[in-house]
């Protein structure tokens, strides 16, 4: 009898838990913030925009170079990529710590290459 009663309890709990967990999972998915998408254009000798803000979390940068294989480098995140012109280069990363993150073109692109830089500001507000 004990075994039967235990089986009944397990079946009952399982039957109740599955939909409950499913609901929680759907709720959790519904609450997960979508990645923040920022579009940038790279062109001798600047990025547009040269400064942008994001909240802590997942970020997707979509960068289009118009005229050169510029580079995009955020040294403090050890994140970099070449930016071949004619297509969108996507950089996906997570940044949790608020602060200012400088970025620069690290492929020498001409006379004012040294000025091709910008800043990403990560702020919870």
């Amino acid at each position: 009898m004990a075994s039967t009663r235990r089986d009944w309890m397990v079946r009952t709990l399982t039957a109740g838990a599955v939909p409950l967990l499913g609901a929680l999972g759907r709720h959790a998915l519904a609450q997960a913030p979508a990645p923040q998408v920022v579009k940038l254009v790279a062109q001798r000798f600047h990025y547009t925009p040269s400064e942008f803000r994001v909240k802590p979390g997942e970020v997707i940068l979509e960068i289009t170079s118009l005229d050169f294989v510029h580079g995009f480098n955020i040294p403090d995140l050890k994140l970099r990529s070449d930016l071949p012109p004619g297509r969108v280069t996507q950089l996906r990363f997570t940044v949790d710590k608020p602060g200012e993150y400088d970025f620069l073109c690290d492929n020498f692109c001409g006379d004012q290459h040294e000025e091709m830089a910008g800043r990403m500001i990560v702020s919870a507000t």
């Binding site: 294989v69 580079g71 480098n73 040294p75 403090d76 070449d82 400088d102 620069l104 690290d106 492929n107 020498f108 692109c109 001409g110 006379d111 290459h113 040294e114 000025e115 830089a117």
Partner: protein, 307 residues
């Protein structure tokens, strides 16, 4: 006997505060004390020492407010070097001989102009290296036409010199091929050979957000770390700077066009403002007194003084 006289003169100058004295021996690379230099002077023997001059970052062709006298600065530097009491055994230019231009014809015109001016140097041997302003937009094609290979090695009185090219690739990479060449070149030497590496950009991450780095510089340093007597002289940052990676000392040189701010000291690496009262402020070159037997390199910074 002449070289002893010069060494003694430099020791005296160093004691007076005019020079820094660096060693590449087993991690001991701090400037030595005047007492130490006096001790060495007393123990002088027949060292086959010599001295050479490093010039860097002349950016011939540049014009703009950071140096309204840009058309004359290089000529003044040449005149200053020619006025040295003892001529160096050779001179090395560590890159950015010319200021960049998109126009291949203008690039060659600037290189020809630079070459004409420095041809007045009264020194037997002048060696050239590219900076990114010379070489990054055409992967060194114009530079090679005027000055030869962008990387090479040579020996001088017991010191093995390696000129590394970290600029012809616009991404500031030395590249696997050149790293393999350097590794093979070094493998031919005894491990304890005095080695001097000449390059344009810092091999280490000085200020990556200012592009003061070499993308694969860590790989070069890993190779060099296997040799106990290595010293690096470079340019790019337009100022004197000294840094250690392990036992390897890295010394950057002043420019001959305009000074840049101290590493990471402000948001952007904008040139320091030109001072009409001191038009050559922050510009200069250096003498390097090499003592191969002990892998010591005494650096004396000199300003551009001649008209």
């Amino acid at each position: 006997m002449k070289r002893y006289q010069r060494r003694d003169l430099l020791k005296l100058a160093a004691i007076g505060g005019g020079a820094a004295y660096f060693a590449a021996l087993g991690g001991c690379a701090a400037p030595s004390s005047p007492m130490g230099m006096q001790a060495r002077a007393g123990a002088a023997k027949d060292y086959d020492d010599f001295y050479f001059v490093q010039l860097s970052d002349s950016h011939w062709g540049f014009s703009g407010p950071p140096n309204p006298d840009a058309a004359n600065t290089l000529r003044k530097a040449v005149a200053t070097v020619n006025a040295l009491e003892h001529p160096p055994e050779f001179i090395v230019f560590t890159g950015d001989l010319t200021h960049t231009t998109d126009d291949p014809g203008e690039r060659r015109k600037r290189m020809a102009g630079f070459r004409d001016i420095v041809s007045a140097l009264k020194v037997k041997q002048v060696r050239f290296m590219p900076g990114e302003h010379d070489a990054a937009l055409d992967r060194g094609a114009a530079f090679k036409e005027f000055f030869g290979e962008t990387f090479y090695s040579f020996d001088h009185k017991g010191v093995h010199f390696i000129a590394l090219d970290n600029v012809s690739d616009p991404g500031a990479k030395i590249g696997d091929e050149q790293l393999a060449w350097m590794k093979a070149d070094l493998a031919k030497r005894p491990k304890d050979s005095p080695i001097v590496v000449l390059t344009h950009r810092p091999l280490f991450d000085l200020v990556p957000k200012w592009d003061w780095a070499t993308r694969d510089g860590a790989q070069a340093i890993d190779i060099l770390m296997q040799y106990p007597k290595v010293t690096v002289f470079y340019g790019h940052i337009h100022q004197e700077h000294h840094h250690m990676t392990g036992h390897i000392a890295h010394h950057s040189a002043k420019s001959l066009i305009f000074p840049l701010p101290a590493p990471g000291s402000q948001p952007a690496r904008t040139p320091l403002p030109w001072d009409p009262a001191q038009p050559n402020r922050g510009l200069g070159f250096r003498e390097i007194e090499a003592e191969p037997d002990v892998a010591n390199y005494k650096i004396q910074e000199l300003g551009v003084t001649r008209a």
